[in-house]
Subunit: 195 residues, 2 copies
């Protein structure tokens, strides 16, 4: 399969990590968002939503949305809990990641590394949302090792992506010690290097 | 089970519709966001994220995130495709709904019906995102009856929630005829009345 991804995007890295962890061969096709490579007619023919990541399987079928692709790749693996309620809790965290976590931490980082903002000029309301996200994670991870159960699931792999990148936006992870310890546990469980 | 919901929230209605369609008894507990009833110590003890919808099962377990709850309730039903790739496509649309659709259409409507904006004062960038979402849906639904396959799935039930409410924000659905026909098909498939 081929993964159209941008190397600075945590959403794209999630799929890379999941495929590698599961031993599924994947070819990374760098798609530079700053050059508009996700808006060309060729790309829009593959994904009318004009978003990366996009996966193209060997039979030509396409799938987008990072967490949906990870779920598809990981079906039947230990990354998805066998228990129905634990699986539902994992889904809860995957939707929280896309609805609340990524739009805070990834946007703050993107404003700095891609759009010329500085830590001093970030929108205070956005900083407040980022702190709220990290505080909620600190609360959750103070009482258990991973988001769901005692072993890492896709929820951890998904949420860790932009969490470990948030120092790029000036957030000092040492202020959230349970989150920091959780990141170390996830790094021990997966190879989180890039393509 | 008890559903803490706000009657103006499409996210909360999705769960109500899913539970009713599947014949699962559910008690609606109105939680007025304008009065801050999702920020009380009692509510935050149930859901530290301070968000509705929240479902409390009879054994005391909690689950949040609308699409995660619908997936849990619908497991094993015809609302979730049996085919693995169709299931993945449904997941793709569920994540798209929370990442791209709801933050456009629900926010535009919320700004008008809850936060005092008018159609004239809506942020033009937000209007552009809403039009883009509706255009993408028009493109997809021009060639098939539902988002995935030939029968309605949770993707349709989820996406229809804020789509059929977008006239509240001044969007004229007659401009998107395939979307309008799809809404009618979903309304024929489910009882979409409120609690």
């Amino acid at each position: 399969m081929r993964l159209y991804g941008y190397n600075l995007s945590g959403n794209c890295l999630k799929i890379w990590w999941t495929a590698r962890h599961l031993g599924k061969p994947v070819e990374w096709i760098e798609t530079d968002l700053l050059k508009g490579e996700h808006r060309t007619p060729e790309f829009l023919a593959r994904n009318p939503a004009g978003q990366v990541p996009l996966v193209e399987f060997d039979d030509g079928r396409m799938l987008s949305q990072s967490n949906a692709v990870c779920l598809y790749l990981a079906e039947g693996s230990a990354l998805i809990p066998a228990d129905a309620f634990e699986r539902a809790q994992m889904m809860q965290w995957l939707f929280w990641e896309q609805y609340s976590h990524e739009p805070a931490l990834a946007v703050a980082r993107g404003n700095i590394i891609l759009r010329g903002a500085t830590i001093e000029t970030l929108d205070p309301a956005l900083i407040q949302r980022c702190n709220g996200v990290l505080d909620l994670m600190e609360h959750e991870l103070s009482s258990r090792p991973f988001f769901v159960g005692n072993t890492p699931t896709l929820a951890d792999l998904s949420i860790v992506a932009y969490t470990r990148l948030c120092p790029d936006a000036g957030f000092r992870l040492e202020n959230w010690p349970a989150v920091s310890r959780w990141i170390a546990r996830v790094e021990d469980s997966f190879d989180l290097s890039g393509p």
